[in-house]
Symmetry: C2
Subunit: 582 residues, 2 copies
């Protein structure tokens, strides 16, 4: 009844946030900026004085803000959308992140900051702010224009890359070094985890939600959604990934549920409440003194963010085949940093690898670039017109011909269709292999857990390993068979295309048999190396492989059936029409 301190905190936060936000709205600035300003007012560094008492609890609520922000970002994301935004988004996002990482790192090194500070600075500058861009485009009434659609696509790709980057940064921060091997190992493990979690998620979560929604109780649906969200976040955190990754992924999984719109409606107010608290706490950490103490770096970084993002996103968009004006507008729209920068800055602080001054500096840069965003977007049109008229003839010729020329490079008609079929098969094979690897890794964990607790289970360590490895292989058989069948189909397709009619028969047969067989062998070798902890001696392996081969021949049909059912269930989920449930 009497947590007065905490109620006072919430009252003060919400009241000041409300007032500042109304003011921001009047002067057409994004609400987010209002929250941050409210935080600065409330913070210990500005008069009147420290207005927040129970900082521990407020920080926890702010963390809930991050979870809900990323969860609803995940809800708006969808695997299908990702495939649709395609090459432009990928090119622009990748070149933006690569450039900004490098620029940020170089700036940090130039000012003589530590290596870790510089790396984190690069990461903070890499990602633009979805929240701020959406608000700005909304207020300018440009949400439906072509360049806005491109921007949203880039933002989606950015979000994914950002999630990967956060995972990487955590790894780098704990190991203390950056080496290529680690990076690849981290990325490999991460993608493995993501593929497996997403596939299982798509199979289980939408069905569970459909079951719960049959009770027609909004309350129950909400509690289930929250239970899944926090439960998955907990799993992800226990696996030592960031909670942000977990929230985003479970959001992306629920984006495929038929109840998506209801979920969005239920989560929206909760997200708004907690994200307000999050942005206010961002302001709490801001010390205006930093502004004058680090005026130089702030100015340099601000300029770097604007020029770097306009250039990288603009060039990326242009290279993907859009005209100069659209490219410039896209680049101008992306030229700011926001919530992801704060999340990364907070990550650095909690991991205790970055210096204190980075956070307020990034807040300052974000505030300045946020303020400039609408003006930059408006500036894009006159700027591109001026650029076009000032350009030498040759250059402007190139600018206008490049997109058309690019078009001729792309596969057309039959060829385009074939390419997409090949790509799809390759992806299916990859997913199946990922699942197989996951089965072996998981059975390694399970087996070691069992060995630790029940020593009675036979005395022969080799036998134990053989049982563990054998059962993992048995569980994997349907996926291996499916991969084999898909690879075979692919090889036949490729053989059809490549092998000339002269020595048709044999060569075709060779190609169509060798590729799948070689791939399966390769995957088994990879598995063997990954499952080293449960790999029995060679003679056991030989016996198991023979048994598996026999089983494969006997159970071929049931295995194919099981796999087909799973696959159908997955596609059903992904292809469901969510708009029907508005």
């Amino acid at each position: 009844m009497h947590a007065i301190g905490f109620i006072q905190d919430l009252a003060v936060i919400m009241a000041i946030a409300g007032i500042v936000t109304i003011l921001c709205h009047r002067f057409k600035q994004p609400v987010v900026l209002g929250y941050i300003v409210a935080g600065v007012i409330l913070g210990p560094h500005t008069p009147p004085f420290q207005l927040v008492e129970d900082e521990h609890t407020i920080q926890i609520l702010a963390e809930l803000g991050v979870i809900f922000l990323l969860f609803s970002l995940g809800l708006e994301f969808s695997i299908k959308k990702l495939f649709r935004v395609g090459v432009t988004a990928l090119l622009a996002a990748a070149s933006e992140i690569a450039l900004m990482l490098w620029v940020g790192y170089e700036i940090g090194m130039f000012f003589g900051w530590s290596k870790m500070d510089s790396i984190f600075l690069g990461a903070m500058l890499a990602i633009s702010s979805t929240t701020i861009i959406v608000k700005a485009l909304d207020e300018l009434g440009m949400k439906r224009e072509k360049f806005a659609q491109l921007i949203f696509g880039i933002l989606i790709v950015e979000d994914i890359l950002a999630i990967g980057m956060i995972a990487l940064l955590s790894g780098i921060a704990t190991s203390g070094t950056v080496n290529t091997e680690d990076v690849f190992a981290t990325l490999g493990k991460l993608s493995l985890f993501m593929i497996v979690a997403l596939v299982l998620g798509f199979l289980i979560v939408p069905r569970l939600l459909t079951y719960v929604s049959r009770f027609k109780s909004k309350e129950m649906l909400l509690i289930t959604v929250l239970g899944l969200c926090f439960g998955f976040c907990l799993l992800v955190v226990k696996l030592e990934y960031s909670v942000a990754l977990g929230a985003f992924m479970i959001g992306a999984v629920m984006a495929e549920a038929r109840q998506l719109h209801m979920i969005e409606r239920l989560i929206e107010p909760i997200r708004d409440m907690f994200s307000a608290i999050f942005f206010v706490t961002v302001g709490l950490l801001f010390d205006p003194k930093v502004l004058s103490m680090y005026a130089m770096p702030i100015a340099v970084i601000t300029v770097a963010v604007i020029i770097g993002k306009v250039l990288s996103c603009g060039v990326g968009t242009f290279l993907a085949g859009h005209d100069g004006r659209t490219s410039l507008r896209t680049g101008m729209g992306m030229a700011q940093i926001g919530e992801f920068s704060f999340i990364i800055a907070a990550l650095g602080l909690t991991l205790k690898v970055t210096s204190e001054f980075l956070y307020p500096m990034v807040v300052a840069v974000s505030a300045i670039t946020t303020l400039l965003t609408p003006y930059l977007i408006k500036l894009a049109d006159p700027l591109s017109a001026r650029a076009a008229s000032a350009m030498p003839h040759g250059v402007s010729q190139f600018f206008s011909r490049y997109p058309a020329w690019l078009q001729t490079l792309q596969p057309q008609g039959d060829k385009a269709q074939m390419t997409s079929i090949v790509l799809r098969i390759l992806m299916q094979v990859m997913v199946n292999f990922a699942l197989v690897v996951a089965v072996f890794v998981a059975s390694g964990y399970v087996a070691s857990a069992i060995w630790r607790n029940w020593t009675i289970w036979g005395t022969d360590a080799d036998m134990q390993k053989a049982i563990a490895w054998g059962s993992a292989l048995f569980i994997s058989l349907p996926f291996l068979i499916a991969a084999y069948r898909k690879l075979k189909a692919l090889s036949m397709l490729l053989a059809e295309l490549w092998v000339t009619s002269a020595h048709q028969g044999k060569a075709r047969k060779l190609v169509s048999e060798i590729i799948p067989f070689a791939s399966i062998m390769a995957i088994l070798l990879i598995i063997a190396s990954l499952s080293i902890s449960i790999l029995p001696p060679l003679e056991y392996v030989a016996v198991i492989l023979i048994a598996a081969t026999v089983l494969t021949f006997i159970l071929w049909k049931p295995f194919v059936k099981v796999h087909a059912r799973l696959q159908i269930a997955l596609f059903e989920t992904l292809n469901e029409d969510k708009n029907a449930q508005h």
Copy 2:
């Protein structure tokens, strides 16, 4: 990033609550019961073990649950509804609360518990559970029947009385004694505060919300609503009332806003999330050992709750003129305790005046009576049929004739209209007087605050008091004039009715002048005694009163105008058609 403990708590709470809730739904039990059972499973008293780590934060979130529960109860409440449910609800609720307070107290004393334990037990048994009744009636498909409407009316009155009771209990617990004087002083201050806060709230809050909603941002509306809610709760807590009172009142104020439906939709998920946490924490405190240790008291209290509530609510409903069957169904529906009992039990624990065992005992009684509620409602019909046939003829005659007889007692036609006019005028006068008293009390506070900090302000203490008292009187003048005018109208009306035509002129004049004048004098005397801290010596008072009289004559018209404007604004708010904004 790494409050793993807390995320784990939330994950475990939400996941187990979700599962248990689905089970409860399958077996047609209210969701609330599921939350409590989830809490018991999670709690330290049952295997597997203590599953909640960061109890401090969870308790704070549970408190937010109480705030949001009562806030949305307030949103569903409305002053107009209160007037509509009328006599039946008032009679039934008052007799229920009086009887159960007494029964609870007697049971406590019988088992030899402390006086404070017994008083709190009485309070815990007094209020039925809105949440559980609404769910039960909903699931039985009886929500639209007549007795259900009666039950909702009783629940509304109960909620208000409960709020008053919580305020009283806090007072009793801190002073340690119950004496009639204190009770009346507490209730007097409480009603004064409520009237003033509601009037000011109705004038300010809906206008503010309308202003904010013009920006068409759900997020801004939500933040404003939350800011107002927590801000008002903070004020109430600072005045040493319970946060429950504050949340309920600000909810009731927002119930008159045009944006009510939007606010309800935004608050619903937040309430569901936090109230789930609240009910889970209720279960956390439950120790199954208590069940066997206190089996006897639990059995006695359960029986007392069921019989006491069926009797008091049934008789109250019957006395208000409903037939025997409806009365019995109403009584049966009310026979359980729920969220308010937990809130009161928690209040006793945090004020450290009740024993530890009370809380789990009340949880047990609530669980049992909740389980029985649907069966009791279903039992009402056969029971009333059996009772009717088993009754002696005379008694059943009485039962069937009483409602009709009661009808003849009620004022009809002109007389009824006159009664309602008189009542309305009296209420308006009361509100004006309350505002005047509030002005004097407030200026007492303000003056003493100023004196404490600025001693320079003249040296003459009497002069200071005269200024404070004089300005309070000046501010009050519009309300005093309005009260005088309304009382005069009332007296003329009464004179018209009562004074016979024989000595018409003089007597009528006498009545119509004396009543208002006497009332104003009485209120001035009351004010003098309440504002003792700023009351200047008599000669000053005389001068101020003369000045006030002169001012009154000069400024009569402007004062009347100001007051009329405020009153119109208030009525506009209260009579706004909220359904237009569905």
